[in-house]
């Protein structure tokens, strides 16, 4: 095959035409020279030369590649036909683009979140060290608290399976020198982290094991590529500059490559510091010696010849020794028993780890299912449209068959047309996919938790998309193409052919397609309603307080000159400053603000008996309940008279009273916190009862809550939190409160967060499901409407003369309309019945994501059906009206 010849074939042909023409002239001259008249000479020359077109064709055939030539012809023919029917082309291409695009977008998300391996060397050798059944107590910090530092050191000593361990823990540091916080996302990593992953610097150097040794003085910091670009404009001079993290100076050592975002998919980092820096940044609260401080996650690189299974076996074998050697000394017998029974395991982690993955796993797969349905509907719709077109071109095809066109050629031509639609649909689909995935990431990101996903169309997504296009082209191109050529030409060309029986079969295929569309649409519309109602249910839950207008203020006093003994008083004073600001209604200290992601729970003991369940705790200042907008139903609030030296007091929720205190007056009752051996809990006396409030999540039912007094904190630290209710805009409140607070000490760092923002973030998966499923549901309903409209219009067109006869025989307009609407309601009813069965069958997968209703909720089902019936009625109204306006005279004369 010569492509060179193929692409030059037209030029060759012109050349030959000119050559043959010149030869005709020369031949004519020769004949004239022999004495013929010019006319006779020209005729003789023509005779001698023979059929010039034949010669050209023969040479053209030598140059061309047969199948390619006809394919090109077919494609051009298809394109011409599409241009002639812009309405059809637009609907076909747009609906396919939306179907394919939605599929590719969701798949791209799944790929990025779930399937894609980490951008490091040999990701397939990576495993994560995890703890099988966990019985762990203590403090949990970081995004993935799997191990403690003492445990890590023991593992490093005894393991044999790994050539290197990459240890990390996420944190947040503040770049500011005081005032409003400028937070950066940080990673604590061990010295082996970058060498184990095989990440190379693009500037400077990365950490090596000697950077991470206990007692490292002022270790350096490694920054990420995006942070380098954002903060320093990518300047090379950044190496050696100093960065202030939580008030501590770090030298910048190097920059990681652009593709490296860490090992936690969905999050990225700005700066990385060695693990040993923990003892500088957190000072006496450092976690390196904490046997109950869970904060580290570990990826191991398997040695050649080791599998995850073999590594698990080795880790299990050394587990008893490891846990015995690192048993936290403060554990009681129960905790110790659980701790010693734990086993380490190695789980394959070529794609890293991800909290995002766990949180969005079910939603993403469900959405992929929904988009697959959408694509099916799209295909059914297109098949219907193409079938209608094939029918309209029945005569044309019959004529061409009769003239000797081969069936394969005609089928190929019709297929080429679908292929064009598929290709255009894919191209636009790629645009839709890009837009949709950006939209989804935008939807998932909030100001405080930026979702980082590295989107680029990789080959798998591309393969999926082109695969979809080809399958779709075959699916909706082949059936109409084959059907169009199966009809005998004579049958079609007969003038009465329009009412011939062969059309009945074709018509039922179209009806089946509409029924399928209605059925699948019901599933999607039902899903849309279920997820929209779930979001509405969750968003309108009464959390027991008023989150609107409530702002939480986080204080960091570590860098201030305030002595430790004065911290509690300083925090109270700062809260009072904020309360005194104009526009602030009220303010109160609180250790935990509802929905901020923190929690604190304790076992309690009443009259010496340990109680079942673990109530949540909080430590709040006076006026807290009025500030968040909940009511004190009995007793009194905390006051300035509750101090460190006065008797310990507590306020409990109504649920707490019901669960632990029973009937009778709760005021004056007492309980203790269950403490580790050797420590004693104060005897908390109940002084008040408040209404129930939600604590961690709006989905959780109201549980028992205990509030202790801020002023009675046994170990006040340098961190403080307050809630503020005001009618000021957030920016105004933030700047005024910052000024007020830094007025006391300029090194104080503050941070503001509207409580509603946290509530919003908590509902993100539900919001994603609701937004996208409503989008898909509307699209499905729209496509089904187009399909139904198409079938009915076609039916009206085909039965024009039947309708004309009926009207001549006395049928009223109403009878005719009823005829059309009867057809429509039959299709819709059958579709809905099948749809209900499908919906019930597929609904179980969705139940886990629903709130306040089940997938089989009859009201929602009814609503979805009613919605579809309404749009179906609209879709059938126009064809019915058209049928009613048929003029019998005109309709009958046509025959």
């Amino acid at each position: 095959m010569s492509w060179r010849r193929f692409f030059r074939r037209s030029r060759w042909d012109e050349e030959r035409a000119r050559e043959l023409e010149s030869n005709l002239q020369i031949e004519t001259d020769a004949q004239i020279a022999r004495g013929l008249s010019p006319e006779d000479a020209r005729a003789a020359a023509r005779r001698k030369l023979g059929n010039a077109t034949r010669i050209r064709e023969e040479i053209y055939a030598m140059n061309t590649i047969g199948w390619l030539e006809t394919l090109w012809q077919d494609l051009r023919y298809g394109a011409r036909l599409l241009r002639l029917n812009p309405g059809f082309a637009t609907v076909a291409i747009l609906s396919l683009a939306l179907g394919v695009g939605a599929n590719a977008a969701i798949f791209q998300l799944i790929d990025t979140v779930r399937l894609r391996t980490l951008p490091v060397s040999h990701p397939e050798q990576l495993v994560e060290i995890q703890i099988g059944s966990t019985h762990r107590t203590g403090s949990f910090t970081g995004r993935r608290p799997m191990l403690t530092y003492p445990l890590l050191e023991a593992i490093r000593r005894d393991q044999q399976a790994f050539s290197g361990l990459a240890v990390w823990s996420a944190a947040q540091f503040d770049l500011s020198q005081g005032g409003e916080a400028q937070n950066v996302q940080a990673l604590y990593v061990n010295g082996d982290f970058f060498p184990t992953l095989g990440v190379e610097p693009i500037a400077g150097r990365l950490f090596v094991p000697s950077d991470d040794v206990r007692g490292c003085g002022a270790p350096g910091v490694v920054i990420s590529y995006p942070f380098w670009q954002r903060q320093y404009g990518g300047a090379a001079s950044v190496i050696g500059q100093t960065l202030t993290l939580d008030g501590h100076a770090f030298d910048i050592l190097g920059v990681t490559p652009a593709a490296f975002f860490g090992v936690d998919v969905g999050r990225s980092f700005d700066v990385a510091v060695p693990l040993c820096a923990d003892s500088i940044i957190r000072a006496e609260k450092g976690r390196l010696d904490g046997r109950a401080s869970w904060w580290l996650a570990v990826l191991g690189r398997l040695k050649p010849g080791w599998s995850a299974t073999r590594a698990t076996a080795q880790l299990a074998a050394i587990s008893p020794g490891l846990f015995r050697a690192t048993l936290p000394e403060q554990y009681g017998p129960d905790d110790a028993k659980g701790y010693l029974a734990m086993k380490l395991a190695a789980a394959p982690a070529p794609a890293g780890t991800s909290a995002l993955r766990r949180r969005y796993d079910t939603p993403l797969w469900l959405l992929l299912g929904a988009t697959a349905l959408l694509l099916l509907i799209t295909c059914a719709n297109l098949a219907n449209l193409l079938l209608a077109r094939a029918t309209a071109r029945e005569r044309e095809i019959a004529v061409r068959l009769a003239l000797g066109a081969s069936r394969t050629r005609i089928v190929r031509q019709l297929l080429a047309e679908s292929l064009l639609i598929a290709c255009a649909g894919t191209v636009f689909g790629a645009l839709v996919a890009d837009w949709l995935s950006r939209f989804i990431v935008g939807l998932l990101s909030t100001e405080t938790s930026q979702i980082f996903l590295d989107f680029h169309l990789d080959w798998r997504v591309f393969a999926l998309m082109s695969g979809l296009a080809v399958v779709t082209a075959l699916l909706f191109g082949l059936a109409p193409a084959l059907r169009a050529t199966q009809t005998a030409p004579a049958e079609v060309m007969k003038t009465g052919g329009r009412s011939a029986t062969d059309t009945h079969e074709r018509f039922s295929l179209r009806r089946a397609l509409v029924v399928a569309q209605v059925a699948l649409s019901l599933v999607l519309v039902l899903g849309a309603l279920l997820f929209a109602r779930t979001l509405q249910n969750l968003a309108t839950i009464d959390p027991g307080f008023q989150p609107a207008g409530l702002v939480s203020i986080n204080l960091d006093l570590r860098r201030t000159a305030i002595p430790a003994a004065d911290l509690a008083a300083a925090k109270t004073r700062l809260t009072e400053r904020v309360r005194a600001l104009p526009g602030v209604t009220s303010a109160a200290e609180a250790r935990i603000v509802p929905f901020d992601g923190n929690f604190w729970n304790e076992l309690i003991v009443i009259n010496g008996i340990q109680q079942p369940g673990i109530p949540y705790f909080n430590r709040v200042g006076p006026d807290y309940f009025r500030t968040i907008g909940t009511k004190l139903v009995r007793g009194r609030d905390f006051s300035a008279h509750d101090t460190a030296s006065s008797p310990a007091v507590a306020i409990v929720s109504q649920s707490f009273v019901r669960k632990y205190l029973g009937n009778g007056d709760p005021i004056g009752r007492a309980f203790r916190i269950r403490m580790p051996p050797g420590q004693t809990s104060p005897n908390y006396q109940v002084i008040g009862v408040v209404e129930d409030t939600k604590y961690q999540s709006v989905r959780d039912p109201f549980g028992p809550l205990v509030f202790t007094a801020a002023a009675q904190d046994p170990a006040p630290d340098a961190f403080g939190t307050a809630v503020v209710r005001s009618n000021l805009p957030l920016a105004t409140l933030a700047s005024e409160a910052t000024t007020a607070i830094t007025g006391i000490d300029p090194a104080a760092v503050v941070q503001f967060e509207p409580v509603e923002q946290d509530l919003y973030s908590l509902l993100l998966p539900e919001r994603l499901m609701a937004t996208l499923s409503v989008f898909f549901g509307l699209l499905a309903a729209l496509l089904a409407t187009i399909g139904l409209y198409g079938v009915l219009s076609y039916m009206v067109a085909r039965r024009r003369n039947e309708i004309g006869i009926r009207m001549t025989l006395g049928a009223s307009t109403r009878t005719v309309i009823r005829l059309i609407l009867g057809e429509a309601s039959l299709l819709v009813t059958v579709g809905l019945a099948i749809g209900v069965v499908l919906a019930v069958a597929s609904g179980r997968a969705a139940n886990a994501l629903l709130y306040g209703l089940r997938a089989s909720d009859p009201l929602t089902m009814g609503l979805a059906a009613a919605l579809l019936v309404t749009v179906a009625a609209l879709a059938s109204w126009i064809p019915a009206m058209r049928a009613a306006r048929v003029d019998p005279n005109v309709a009958l004369r046509e025959e």
């Binding site: 095959m1 000119r18 050559e19 010149s22 020369i26 001259d29 020769a30 023979g50 010669i55 023969e58």
Partner: protein, 117 residues
């Protein structure tokens, strides 16, 4: 993809012969299609008649193989005409095909001659 219109020499004696005749004609100097046909007819004492329907495809084929090349020139009667000339590759090919032709003629003669005696 098989090369269309280029069957082996032995398969189509007539066509293969036309090719070598064209090459031989062009060995004398550049010529256009009409002259080539005319010369072949003249030199064979009008025994061989060259069909234009075969001549032009043959010229195209030879040019495509690089044995001859073409250019536009002016004919004896001041007409624009497409001239062909032998390329060095074509010259080698002519020599090879001529000796192959001699071999074949000799072989055929060895078969035919004894029967005629």
């Amino acid at each position: 993809m098989p090369k269309r219109g280029t069957p082996p020499l032995q398969g189509d004696l007539l066509q293969g012969t036309l090719d070598v005749l064209i090459l031989k004609t062009l060995a004398l100097g550049p010529a256009h299609g009409h002259t080539i046909a005319h010369l072949i007819e003249q030199r064979s004492d009008e025994v061989l008649q060259v069909e234009h329907g075969s001549l032009y495809p043959a010229l195209h084929r030879l040019e495509d193989r690089g044995w001859i090349s073409s250019f536009w020139g002016t004919s004896e009667n001041n007409r624009r005409a497409r001239y062909y000339r032998l390329t060095p590759v074509g010259r080698r090919e002519l020599a090879e095909q001529t000796s192959r032709w001699d071999l074949m003629v000799a072989a055929i003669n060895r078969v035919l001659k004894p029967a005629m005696e």
